[in-house]
Symmetry: none
Amino acid sequence: MFRGINNLNIDMKGRLAIPSKYRGAVISESASQIIVTIDHTDKCLLVYPMADWLLVEKQLNSLNNMNRRARNVQRLLLGHAAECELDSQGRILVPAPLRNFAGLKKKLVLVGQLNKFELWDAEQWIIQRDSWIVEAQEDDFDNDEALAQVSI
Amino acid sequence: MFRGINNLNIDMKGRLAIPSKYRGAVISESASQIIVTIDHTDKCLLVYPMADWLLVEKQLNSLNNMNRRARNVQRLLLGHAAECELDSQGRILVPAPLRNFAGLKKKLVLVGQLNKFELWDAEQWIIQRDSWIVEAQEDDFDNDEALAQVSI
DNA sequence: ACTTAAGTGGGGATTAGTGGGGGAAAGTGG
DNA sequence: CCACTTTCCCCCACTAATCCCCACTTAAGT
């Protein structure tokens, strides 16, 4: 299970070092195979170990694709899914089209989300995060059934 | 159950000594494993023994993440959750990104909140606390069903 | 006042992260 | 089918962060 935030750099060749604390899990669980795709709501990338991705893919595949929204989600997620492999130094090569989509410059953040990571341009991440915090301050979630039940 | 306020210092390397009165509980209950994450409304950190964190994580993980607000709360809490371990001196290393988020300088306060602690920069804490007191003076909680029932 | 425990600070070894060169492989065009 | 270009992968070197250990200071209890 992946948690936590990591500041890292992508080099000019598009290589991204996966933090060593996560490598063991990826290697043993998914034989170093990683899927990188785009997020369907934000300008960030999603990074899945292959085993976790397959579960997502199965769900997407089972959607009724006569439904317009389902088709569009399939296009976004399946359509951008790139297979990557950890190299001998524990790095993956993030394909150029995906780097462009997320506006990745040099400084990035890799954000653990249990079954996957989100990958953001560092600057964008800060902007978004602060806006989520402001939103949470102004909203006590009374109108949201599920969230109102959560106790932290 | 953690209660009370403690003044403590974080050193230049980002190390924080957990007061010894709390260590026993953390060691026996959670094998010295601690999770530090951010608060979703204030610029402070939350410190959970692992066992308590897992309960929170389970709730967050079960939220439907096609819901925008749920996704954003997951991003904030799960996304910043750093696994830390008590070292041989009973200290944890607070990751740099989290120190920056909460604006931690040298002097901190660690505030017991039963299942977790809050960690504030000492100066910020004083300012916030005073503002909560003013707020409470001006508001008699008549509009809040749950709070109106509380008798202290 | 002495003894023990808790908190604080720092040196040094080790590991992780970063960046660049060269060679292999794949893709492109004549 | 061959030559040329580009992409990508492996290896090495350098830098920065983290961990482990030891020592000193401060506080507490007998």
